[in-house]
Every structure is written in C-alpha cells, then in structure tokens.
Amino acid sequence: MLDSVTDEYVHTDGADPSVLFTVAYRRYSGAVLGYLRAKGVDDAEAVTQDVFLAFFPKLESLTGGLQGAKSLIFSIAHARMVDHYRRSERAPALSPYEAELDGRSSASAEDQAMSHANGLGAAALLENLSEDYREVLALRVVADLSVEQVADIMGKTPGAVKQLQRRALCALRDRASITKQGTS
C-alpha cells in the first residue's frame, strides 16, 4: 500500500537525515543485499551494512529525494563490489579443502533434486555470464533501477545499457535452456 505512492513526491530538503536514512534502509537494504549476492560478494550482509554506513554522511548533500538516495546507494554498492573483487584478486582466499565446496565436482542426484525444488538456480546461471551482463541484470532486475540510473552507475550511455541488457537476457535464456536440457 505504501509502495503505491511514488517516491518522487518525497521532499527531503532540510529534513532530518536520520528520517531519510531510516526510510532508505527499509526500502533498499533488501535490494542492495540481493544485488551483492547476485554479484557473488562473499559477506553480502556485512557489505550491505557498510554501504549504508557510507551513505549516511552523504545525506546532507543529497538531492532528488528517495530516488536520488536510491541511485546514490547503488552507486556506493557498486563501488564496494568493485573494491571487494579487487581485494580478492590481490589476496587469494585460503581455505581448507572440503569436498562439498569443490566447484570442479559434479552435483549429486540429491543436490540436483534440491536445486530444482528451490528453482532454476538464477544465481548459478548468473555466475556463467560475463561481468557486464551480470551487472546490468542485477541493477535492472534486482535493484529495479532505470536505464538512465544503470548507465550512470556503469559509466555507459543509455543506448549501450539497453543493448547490453538485451544481450544479457539472450545469454541467460541460452544458459537456462542448456541447463534444462542437461537436467531433464
């Protein structure tokens, strides 16, 4: 019911920053968490908290109401995600070998049955896509950002984002069909 009211009418100029922060957290923290999970960030919940902690000091200079806050929050999340991957590239993760976590092994029949019970495994499908495809799908579908906002975050033109989105959907479709044929 509350979601039916558009965000553009929220006036936040001169408002208490804590009020806007609370509203923004309630609305967008789940989407930020989903975006980070779709991008494969390890500790997505902790990074989500970091994103909002970095968002709070910028509230005083924020313009555009909740839509501006949304764009800013996902810009911070995108930057944190990039930082995460840079850090993980520099320091390789050291962990003891566990057969259950070995990605080179094929899934057992039980695992396949459980995965089908939960769905088609969209996160697993995204892992096989290229970085740009995953980024545009996560920002458009999970974060529910407009083409212009995605273009601003990714540093591309809206036309390029639309093309990228079309190719990403076609690639995802191919992967889903291949997975279906392999499991059926």
């Binding site: 804590s18 989903g34 529910d144």
Partner: protein, 254 residues
C-alpha cells in the same frame, strides 16, 4: 496474450523484457523472478545503523508535513523494529579524526618525556658521570693547547675595558656600579644593594666583584690598574704604523 502482471516484480520483469524486445520469452520469466527474489530478504540493521536510526525518534519526523510522503516516512519509521537503546551508541567520526590527528603529537610527547626521564636517571648514576667526565677530560686534553691559549685572552680583554669604562665614568675609588656608589655613602643597606646589582649586571666577570670589594681593600688594587688599560690601546696604534711603512720602498727596489 492472456498473461497479466500481478505483482510489482512481474511488472518490472515485463518492462525489462519489453525493452529488450523479448516479450514472448516466457521461459525467462521464472529465472528473472528467482533473480528478483534475491532482493526480497531484508537484512537486520547492525548496531551502528540502529544508532543512526535512533536519532529519528528523538528528533521526530523531519519530512515535509501535508504531503502523503510525510505519512510514508512516519509509517515506515513506526514500522521499524524498536532497537535496543542500550546497544545503540552514536560514534562521532569527527572526534575519531581529531584523535587520529592528535596521535602523532601524543606519541612525540611520550617519547620526549621518556627521553628526559631516561637522561635524568642516567645522570644520577655515578658511573655514567665518571664516564662522561673522563670522556670530556680526554677531549679537553686533545684540544687543550689551543683552548688554553685562547682562554686567558678572552676574560682579560673585556675585564679591563669594562672596569675602565666604569671607573672613568665614576671617579671615586669604590669601583662598583657607577650610580649606586656615587649617590650613596657607605652603610649596610647599600652594601646589599650593590651585591644584587653586581650580580645581575656582570655575572661573567668575577674579577671585578663590585659589591664584595666595597668592604675590602679591593678598590685600592683595581683603581691603579684602570688607567693603564685605556692608555694601552692608544700607544700601540702609532707604534705599529711607522715600522710597517719602511718595507714598502724596499719592494720596488728588488
């Protein structure tokens, strides 16, 4: 097509598919819906975020009243879980930055205090003092020849000059400071004043000793020495120049 979106997620997915020209891709909808469901779970706020939200309850709603959006904010804030007030402490980041700036100064101050304390402890040790004394003695012995030549010259040259200047300005025999000796005639109180004046004016010249010499037969010894000094610089000047002139004509001859 008989499909009609029933939720906000389906509407978003339809919009994305329509932008890509894939309206008929029904096999993509469940995949995208599952992808969309990744953002359905809302993480619980941490203690820091709860502390930042805590200000809303004390300050009240700051959003503009009169619009339905103010009601949105109030409703969502009221809908938020009640945080534990004891666990929510606001961290002042500016104070943290200030502490970081003071950290080098604090480290420097502690290091300086330790150095001073260590130096005092070392100076209190007799062995260290003996070592230092021997070291200075050895150094002084190596350079002693030059220092001994320069040493007596420096005190003797200013000594007579000062005493001479004072004695010329103040004619009377007590060779202490000029104004006090001329204005007052003897007495115990004057003697104390002279000691203070002499100590503050000329501490580097123990030989003159104006205050102490007023009670002793000192002035009788210093008074005759004073006129010799001004006479000395006047004599060598004419004496030095004539001997230097005769060699000049000898050079062109050779």
């Amino acid at each position: 097509m008989s499909y009609t979106p029933v939720s906000g997620s389906e509407r978003i997915i339809d919009q994305v598919l329509a932008e890509a020209g894939l309206e008929d891709a029904d096999d993509l909808r469940p995949v995208l819906l599952e992808l969309r469901s990744l953002g359905g779970e809302q993480p619980g706020p941490s203690a820091e975020i709860l502390a930042l939200m805590e200000g809303t309850r004390s300050a009240g709603s700051g959003l503009s009243a009169g619009t339905p959006d103010g009601q949105i904010a109030d409703a969502e804030i009221a809908d938020a879980g009640t945080p534990d007030p004891g666990s929510a402490d606001v961290i002042d980041l500016a104070a943290r930055r200030r502490n970081k700036r003071r950290l080098p100064l604090t480290v420097f101050g502690v290091a300086a205090a330790l150095a001073v304390g260590g130096g005092a402890a070392a100076a209190a040790d007799q062995g260290v003092r003996d070592t230092l004394h021997s070291a200075f003695t050895s150094i002084a012995s190596t350079f002693g020849g030059e220092n001994h030549k320069q040493g007596p010259k420096t005190p003797t040259v200013p000594g007579p000059a000062e005493t001479g200047g004072e004695s010329q300005g103040t004619a009377p025999s007590p060779a202490g400071s000029a104004p006090s000796t001329s204005g007052t005639n003897g007495g115990p109180a004057d003697g104390t004043h002279r000691r203070q004046d002499g100590g503050s004016q000329a501490p580097a010249d123990p030989g003159t000793g104006p205050g102490r010499s007023s009670e002793n037969p000192w002035p009788n010894r210093t008074a005759p020495a004073i006129p010799d000094v001004p006479a000395a610089p006047s004599i060598p000047d004419p004496g030095l120049t004539p001997p230097s002139l005769p060699p000049l004509p000898a050079l062109p001859a050779s």
